[in-house]
Symmetry: D2
Subunit: 403 residues, 4 copies
């Protein structure tokens, strides 16, 4: 008799292939869910269509809100893996509910962030679900101590083993980025080998002439990107983001090598490449500051940092993340306009910007024209700001003398 049905987040790799068989061995019925697909169609066309559907959702529902937030964890990481997890788990939960499966399972390790992101999403959207995390089950992890054990098990059960030589690190790829960690990268002093990067060209080998792009934003998200020289443009979310990946990848944009703090309190070393996301971050920062009130920006900056921490820690589906997302989205109402930028040798250079909603007032700020501004006002402004500083100094003076 079956112990019940498990929906497994299946990647096609060695780990989840073995988990699939192992779960069956344990007496479960298993539904393998390949992220971004959700069907078991055999036909290539249907698969591609499904993939695009998943990718489209990923861009619109997860990448775009992150762009609005300028989401960056610990000042550097653009959260490419962190936003993918709730996207995958959301679909998995949908299938589990549809199929009346009481269980979900995944192949994430017991030391990482992904297990948390995955499971918090499942609990949030399907509170009664039971989660099977084999890499935290002693029977499992004591049986499969290394890659050799998995390969043996795979061969015994006729699981096709990827023939490609395993890289001496692990990686995770999605439309937004690729992350690399573990293996030889665990020594934080070891430089990443040049052949590690798959999504971006080495800037040393990238083109010697820049591409110049014009990005158009509405409500803080890109609605069009145009290659100024080539005249080519894209205007659907998925096309825009894919094109930015292409241009960013071609010019080696978005590589970082960092040590970050995991939610569980360990420091870990990760290498990431986020070509399109990096271009978008720079362009959005520009148009946002151009169009958003200064003090709104300060408050929103704090909310964006909070948002980034929530995403990193796996709380995409949480009341606080809903709340922050709502607030950030509200802040973007006037973030509209065009940014021109060039992409070259790993770097993005902002060149100029324009907007019908900008608070920039050329006449007001001009050094050559007075505009609606009386410089004498600044005297009072400064003197009032100094009231407190002068009092402080006087008190200190008094204290010093008394001592």
């Amino acid at each position: 008799m079956s112990k019940g049905t498990v929906v497994l987040a299946y990647s096609g790799g060695l780990d989840t292939s073995c988990i699939l068989v192992w779960l069956k061995e344990q007496g479960y019925d298993v539904i393998a869910f390949l992220a971004n697909i959700g069907q078991e169609e055999d036909f290539e066309a249907a698969r591609i269509k499904a993939e695009k559907l998943g990718a489209k959702k990923f861009v619109e529902d997860f990448i775009w809100p992150s762009v609005q937030a300028n989401a960056v964890y610990e000042d550097r990481y653009l959260l490419g893996t962190a936003i993918a997890r709730p996207c995958i788990a959301r679909s998995q939960v949908k299938i589990a509910r549809r199929e009346n499966a009481q269980f979900v399972s995944h192949g994430a390790t017991g030391k990482g962030n992904d297990q948390i992101r995955f499971e918090l999403t499942c609990y949030a959207l399907y509170p009664e679900v039971k989660i099977i995390a084999p890499w935290r089950i002693p029977e499992f992890y004591n049986r499969f101590l290394g890659r050799i054990d998995l390969i043996d098990y795979a061969q015994k059960h006729d699981i096709p083993v990827p023939v490609t030589k395993k890289a001496p690190w692990s990686m995770d790829a999605n439309l937004m980025h690729i992350s690399y960690e573990s293996g030889i990268l665990e020594n934080p002093k070891t430089h990443a080998p040049a052949d590690l990067y798959l999504m971006t060209k080495n800037p040393e080998d990238s083109p010697n002439t820049p591409d110049v792009l014009e990005m158009e934003f509405t409500n803080g998200v890109p609605v069009k990107v145009t290659n100024v020289k080539e005249g080519k443009s894209k205007d659907s979310p998925l096309d825009i983001f894919s094109y930015l990946n292409e241009i960013g990848g071609k010019h080696g944009v978005g590589r970082i090598d960092i040590v970050e703090n995991r939610f569980i309190g360990m420091k870990s070393r990760g290498i990431y490449e986020t070509p399109g996301g990096t271009i978008l971050l720079k362009a959005h920062l520009d148009i946002e500051t151009f169009t958003m009130d200064k003090e709104v920006r300060r408050i929103k900056q704090g909310l964006g940092i909070k948002f980034s921490e929530l995403i990193y820690n796996g709380f995409w589906y949480s009341p606080e993340c809903d709340f922050v997302r709502h607030c950030i989205n509200k802040s973007q109402e006037n973030v509209q306009g065009k940014v021109q930028l060039s992409v070259f040798k790993g770097q993005v250079y902002i060149l100029g910007r324009e907007s019908p909603k900008s608070l920039y007032n050329e006449e007001l700020v001009s050094m050559d024209v007075q505009g609606d501004y009386d410089p004498c006002d600044a005297t009072g402004f400064i003197r009032i700001n100094a009231v407190r500083l002068r009092e402080h100094h006087r008190l200190q003076g008094v204290s010093t003398i008394k001592k």
Copy 2:
């Protein structure tokens, strides 16, 4: 009879040269104070020595605390001008006190941030001082409506006028950066001309091979930089910073084009190049996250943002800035170690890091070794984090049904 003595922050340019003469015309005794110098020596050697003294102070007292703070205004500007103002005004006030001058004066415009930074410093350190800001005095600014009027006045008073053709923008340079604004740059859509930059090479023309540096930090400030290939190293603050400027400049590092929010509430467009500071920011971010506890880092990140706003707004000498600086300095006690990085074509790439004080524990985080960590604990951790999310979902479910 003299109206009193004025210490004028004199730059040697057209504006302050005219102001100097104009102040005399108004009946003041004027002491011209050339920043970073403070003497009227004629001898080149003495001048250079004094300059270095000023520069050394600038690096140690102003740039280093900013490095500790990862000070960045509105996510992009490294505050090169903003930290120079209190440094200059501090010296100016010292002279004013020594010379019993009741007045100080400067050539900053009435729409900018610098007048504020300058004057708040003066009021904070010399509360009784009287400030003469000619560009806010109608008699002055109505008399000198354009550059032509200043040149006329200069010629009439035998003030030497710089013969070089004036660039169609204004600039401000110091050891940390050069800023460019006004003139043709006031249109935020206009691209900066290629020949604008003086401190950094155009990345298109920069070397085709990177320089690799090793930066050593103690207490969150650099104590040594070594060019790994050349074996050359520097170890005094001024030498280190100057060398980073040299390397950063050679590779076109640290150029940004932004619209920022001035303290007085206008948006203004600025172009900055901060070669050494940009390298330092990246290196410091790396070593800091490597060695600092995660939660201390979060709190300190907030203080760093506050610090940046205070600096930008001119409050370097204020009780709150003293307080924040003290706290940030405290946070840097264990920020110690070495970062390896490469500099190439406008970009800085972190390659690796090591530290005797790192909280990074290779065994703990390893995917191959269990270390002092029980993966089962993560189950409880996740489930407890989910308590709240599951309750929220249930309530929502109930609400939804009720509706």
Copy 3:
């Protein structure tokens, strides 16, 4: 010929009566605007109706958002004056626009917060307006050096002078509170005289039995208050707030004596009584924490503090205050339910609460029932939270030994 039309915020007191005449003397046409009224009707009924209209607006548009925010400045002041200013100035601007008046004027002093709150509202809602602030105009303030000068002027111009003896302090009253400052209160050591308070009874003389109220909230604002013993209830905003004032006043609730920091950087001593507002703050804090998710609460708490500072400083009508108000309002969607409390001798005691939207789960939290909770999970939760602390300790140990 008239210099133009001025809408004066007229209070009926000595200052604004003199200002009215003085403005006419200066050649202006003056419209006296008596806050909350806006008409020059003579009929008592119309006046009362208009007053109620103003008061209703004040409660709904200004007090209610402050209740949602738990708005408190510097941990103690409930902002009764601060929220009244934008309410008054909004009406004044409306009249000025309707009457094509280019000027507005007020009687606020040049050292206080009210001038700022008043004028920022005017500039925000009517950017072209010109403001006449007599207490900042040397011709005015040098002419009227003390109260005597005003009285003389009043008598000379047949302005009726209030016959009541002037209290040795100034006060400002509205529906929400009365503030007392200046005069003998300027010495921060001087105790407030017992007869100062007008809105609340001295707790020493207040009733010896409490009143018990039940407050019902929807969207974070009260929709009904019931006196449990008397069975009496109120359910319109103005009635609810007035009744809370009555009960709070009867029991001496809401008196504070503080030194606060004005926006202009001075410290000033103020005494406030806010009977109804104090009851509401306590009740709202209770129902909010009962119904709001913990992490939403933390974020919202920060926004509430920001909101309070904005209100205090006069930025009610600003993009950032709009933004924060929107976010706070969003946070209140589920803040619904009933709070029982007693009011007695200056204090408010929460007795109990209930809500259809509470995240409180009696079974989950019970010490006697396990509920949907496995205590073993807490072990993992704690151990993972300790990972970081244990690493920190080890590093410290190592450092200590090395030293």
Copy 4:
């Protein structure tokens, strides 16, 4: 053979008495540690001395830093239990280390905060320690399902059972406060019975005349308290705090009834009485705002909220709490002076204050004297603050027209 030595935090109550015997049954050697004592002396005098030693440490090392921080969790709870846990656990760890015990144990439940506070302290100070939490061990909690089981077990093992009738709630008392929860209080709507409170008098029965105190602070902590009418004063930390408890208790000060958010994500209802702590909070808020710069105060307020959350969640011994405590302590350097207050019928009224370090400047703020202040400056201050608001309005106007 013994399984090892356990240091048990023993309270003398039924639970920990049974745990003591149960641990022995399981094969452990047990050292019972009675908090604040630490010896097994039989002599009353030695016990009292030891108790005082513990209490003194509790006041100086835990209560005083909380006073400096104005530590309040979720706007109401003064953290009386939360700061006691690390104090107790610190001593327990000290004994464990001294006695070479590998284990510590406690009687806290599996749903509460105390288990976390207790264990995080142990892990932080003694990373290798093993923790036995019986209420999270199925063998234990399945055996002792209710109080009856514990009593049976106690009688079987000759454990003296407290003869007093158990109250229908649980309580936790220390020098700072008593907390009440569970049992009939689990229904958040149920009013607390009048006889629940042990530390404070019912305000309805408290004296009809206030006590007036003068509190003197140095470095943000009280150094002396004087009863103004009686002339009596106290000047050691323990005496001061005990006296404030006495006065506060006599007048019914510091009772609250709240629903709070536990760290583990549940909402729970708690009733607290904190007489001395409540008086201190009010007095400290007063002297702090009187002496601290406005902007330092804003930053420190945020740190104080952070500190409160850290304490509540059990992170007293953590790098971030060390950091925040250091910063807060630094902020208190000038928090010095005297506050006069009256205590009456459950309320604390601030009457006046004085300080040699106050930034309050009576002449500067006076409405009757101009002082070193030019009211015209305020015009410029306001107009510059309005620049942004006016621009915003104009843009909105334009947008509205365009729509």
